[in-house]
């Protein structure tokens, strides 16, 4: 799945590990420590940011939104264990998160047991149930990757989603299953009454899960998952059964998907058919791919961006799904590495110390392009308003400007801005390309 190759043109020399491994003497040990710190840096920063975010955004809705983001992050990372690292395309992964979540809801409703455990460990049970289901399904679905795996996942996903409205005893029908998280054993006096308490619970779980999933990719079976993804036949002749490697990845992914379901249960205190259905499975595929499957942190970006689009953009426009679809399609067509791939494209230029070369050309091209695209969106919104707004309601507000959508002027203005913006972007694109090539070529920096 690694369509993007950031290292193709990597400069020689900048390879600190080489010395460490070949010559484990003292100076390199110091270096190893520094390297470890370097490796830990993103995690420490992420933890600090998660710790401090609620201090910046104090209102509940932002916290709710961030909770949703983190839940999606865990789920998307779990999904990427399959798609990105194991090369398995699943169309029914929501069921593992969903079943984990439903199990947590039932635990919440088992008052004797639930009141004897602290709420913080509940997601672990979600993980166990997700894992259990993954073991059952994985036992027959992981025999091959590719279309067979994808279609089995689709079929199983449809079956479980369909049974969610039939098997009322477990899935609660269309009303779902709801419970009360505050019934748990207080955790150091905390009953998790407020969203902010839940925020920290989810944040800790997110960091732990992300770290564990990252470490998983560094274990023997995690490495072999990549090997099997790239070349299952060769992996078999290295002593590994491709099927079992896939199975372990699948089960691990099911575990973390179940954890995300458990977090969902804690945050929303309700699970419904929606947590299982194919639409949710499709969304997680979009999220992961949008973020970029080739990099560990890709799904994180995807989860953040998608949640914002889904929740915040939908407050602004009815057409949010249209924009989301367009964004997604554009990503697949032009940046198959996803948003993470887009970011990582710049690493070589950074390493060469030439990233500064890109700033001016970027401003020259991307700013007009962005303005042009916004103008196109304005045209779309105006068309929509013109066609679907109430009769007599000619007034609309776009980008802080209120105007009459039934007069010619706004249309001309928007069309002109679109034409000029995109025109400039098009005219300056060659020089951007030139700058790009220059910034990625080794040699004297100008």
């Amino acid at each position: 799945m690694s369509n993007f190759d950031p290292n193709t043109d990597m400069p020689r020399g900048a390879r600190p590990e080489e010395q460490i491994t070949t010559d484990p003497s003292k100076p390199s040990e110091r270096m190893q420590f520094r390297l470890m710190l370097f490796n830990l840096a993103p995690w420490i920063i992420a933890s600090l940011v998660l710790l401090l975010l609620p201090a910046v955004f104090t209102n509940n809705s932002t916290i709710t939104l961030m909770n949703q983001m983190m839940i999606t992050i865990v789920f998307a990372l779990a999904y990427n264990m399959l798609l990105g690292q194991g090369g398995m395309l699943s169309f029914g992964h929501a069921v593992y998160a969903g079943v984990g979540g439903f199990a947590c809801m039932h635990i919440m409703n088992t008052s004797d047991f639930f009141s004897s455990i602290p709420l913080v460990i509940l997601p672990f049970f979600g993980g166990l149930f997700g894992m259990g289901l993954a073991m059952i399904v994985g036992s027959f679905s992981t025999r091959s990757a590719g279309t067979v795996f994808a279609m089995i996942s689709l079929g199983v996903g449809e079956l479980i989603a369909a049974s969610s409205v039939i098997i009322v005893a477990f899935f609660g029908g269309e009303g779902g299953v709801s419970g009360n998280r505050t019934d748990a054993l207080p955790f150091f006096g905390n009953e998790f009454l407020q969203q902010i308490n839940v925020y920290y619970l989810i944040a800790v779980w997110t960091i732990i899960s992300a770290a564990l999933m990252f470490l998983w990719s560094r274990t023997p079976v995690g490495r072999m998952a990549n090997a099997v993804r790239d070349n299952p036949e060769r992996a078999e002749f290295l002593g590994y059964s491709a099927r079992w490697v896939r199975f372990y990845s699948f089960v691990a992914s099911g575990f973390f998907a179940g954890v995300s379901g458990g977090l969902f249960a804690i945050n929303y205190e309700i699970l419904t058919e929606e947590n299982l259905n194919t639409a949710s499975s499709g969304v997680i595929l979009l999220v992961t791919f949008l973020g970029g499957v080739g990099f560990f942190f890709g799904p994180i970006i995807g989860a953040v961006v998608f949640t914002l689009v889904q929740t915040v953009l939908s407050l602004q426009t009815e057409l949010w799904a249209f924009y989301a679809g367009s964004l997604f399609l554009a990503t697949v067509m032009f940046f198959p590495g996803g948003l993470a791939g887009l970011i990582m494209m710049h690493v070589p230029a950074f390493k060469l110390g030439k990233s500064k070369l890109l700033i001016i050309p970027y401003l020259k091209t991307l700013v007009p392009a962005a303005i042009g695209i916004l103008a196109v969106c304005a045209l779309v919104e105006m068309t929509f308003h013109y066609r679907h707004a109430a009769t007599g309601d000619h007034e609309m507000t776009l980008f802080w400007t209120t105007f009459d959508s039934h007069t010619v002027l706004p249309w001309l203005v928007a069309a002109a801005i679109a034409a000029v913006g995109l025109g400039i972007a098009r005219a300056t694109a060659p020089s951007l390309k030139e700058a790009w090539n220059e910034a990625n070529t080794r040699g004297a920096a100008s």
Partner: protein
């Protein structure tokens, strides 16, 4: 007995309709390796275009023109979208079609709004063709059967008796060889994609009046088309036909006869639990076949994939 005959006819209609979609999809899939998730969206476009055309020019012009527009749209999607994504591999291609399906649904809502369209059967065909012991068979159904059978025969003729068909058939099994033989494979791809989507368009045009024309119509049909070609075996037109009819009849009969799970279980010698209302499996015991009719194809697909990954008629498993 009479009801069996009626159900056979109904199942045939459902199956043939499914076949029009799966035929195009299996052509596209076996040739290009693309699981086209947007296939049912082209079916929806067919219905909507036909509706709009029928308002101005009548149903028959819709039947004639709408599939052509859909085919052109499909070819354009291949030329300007898929071909670009093709270089990145199959997964991005698949995801591209996935996103396309979402976008088409949004576009349809943008243009036509979110309501059901009043697209209905033309007056010429709006009568009862014949009745079997009180069950009327609408003439439109007969018309649907004729159209789909006609298309199948036409497709079979093109594929087996013409040079283009030979090339396509060869490309189904040996895409690389055909390319090596100097045929313009990108052009063939575009053509096959266009024809495949046009077939889906025809299905939309004739199904729209009976099954409803609304933004969710693609979603309802969506994955079942894949299930059909997977069951039939990828790359096999006969497999697609067989699986379509199988699914058509299977779901029709499951809906038509209330077979109860408790009867089956009792028949197997398992006694009904005494306090069924408290049993964890109460919902399982009270299952009836109409409840699960539409998920039967999924069960069948999973079983087939486990025991015969290449599908019933397929030779390749991926």
């Amino acid at each position: 007995m009479d009801l069996i005959l009626v159900n056979l006819i109904d199942g045939l209609v459902t199956g043939l309709l499914l076949f029009m979609l799966s035929a195009g999809l299996t052509l596209i899939f076996s040739m290009m390796g693309v699981l086209n998730f947007a296939h049912a969206s082209f079916y929806m476009l067919g219905a909507y275009f036909a509706y709009s055309i029928s308002l101005a020019l009548g149903f028959w012009m819709g039947l004639l023109v709408a599939p052509l527009i859909v085919g052109l749209a499909g070819a354009a999607v291949e030329r300007y979208g898929l071909r670009r994504v093709h270089q990145y591999g199959h997964v991005p291609e698949l995801i591209f079609t996935f996103g396309l399906a979402l976008l088409i649904e949004e576009l349809v809502q943008f243009v036509w709004g979110k309501n059901q369209m009043a697209y209905s059967v033309p007056d010429v065909l709006n009568f009862t063709a014949f009745a079997i012991s009180g069950n009327s068979i609408p003439a439109y159904k007969i018309f649907m059967i004729f159209i789909s059978v006609g298309i199948f025969i036409g497709l079979l003729y093109v594929l087996t008796k013409t040079r283009v068909g030979m090339i396509i058939q060869a490309a189904l099994s040996y895409p690389r060889t055909v390319e090596a033989l100097g045929h313009n494979v990108p052009l063939i791809f575009m053509g096959v994609f266009g024809v495949g989507t046009a077939l889906a368009g025809v299905a939309g045009v004739i199904a729209g009046p009976v099954l409803g024309t609304f933004p969710g119509m693609a979603f309802v049909l969506g994955s079942i088309v894949f299930v059909t070609i997977v069951i039939g075996g990828l790359g096999s037109l006969w497999g697609a036909l067989f699986a379509s009819l199988l699914i058509g009849w299977m779901t029709t009969f499951a809906k038509a006869y209330n077979i109860e799970m408790s009867n089956i279980l009792n028949g197997l010698g398992i006694a009904t639990p005494e306090n069924l209302d408290e049993s964890l499996f109460r919902d399982f015991w009270s299952l009836t076949s109409p409840q699960i009719a539409d998920i039967l194809p999924y069960i069948l697909m999973v079983l087939i994939l486990i025991f015969r990954p290449a599908g019933l008629f397929g030779k390749r498993s991926s």
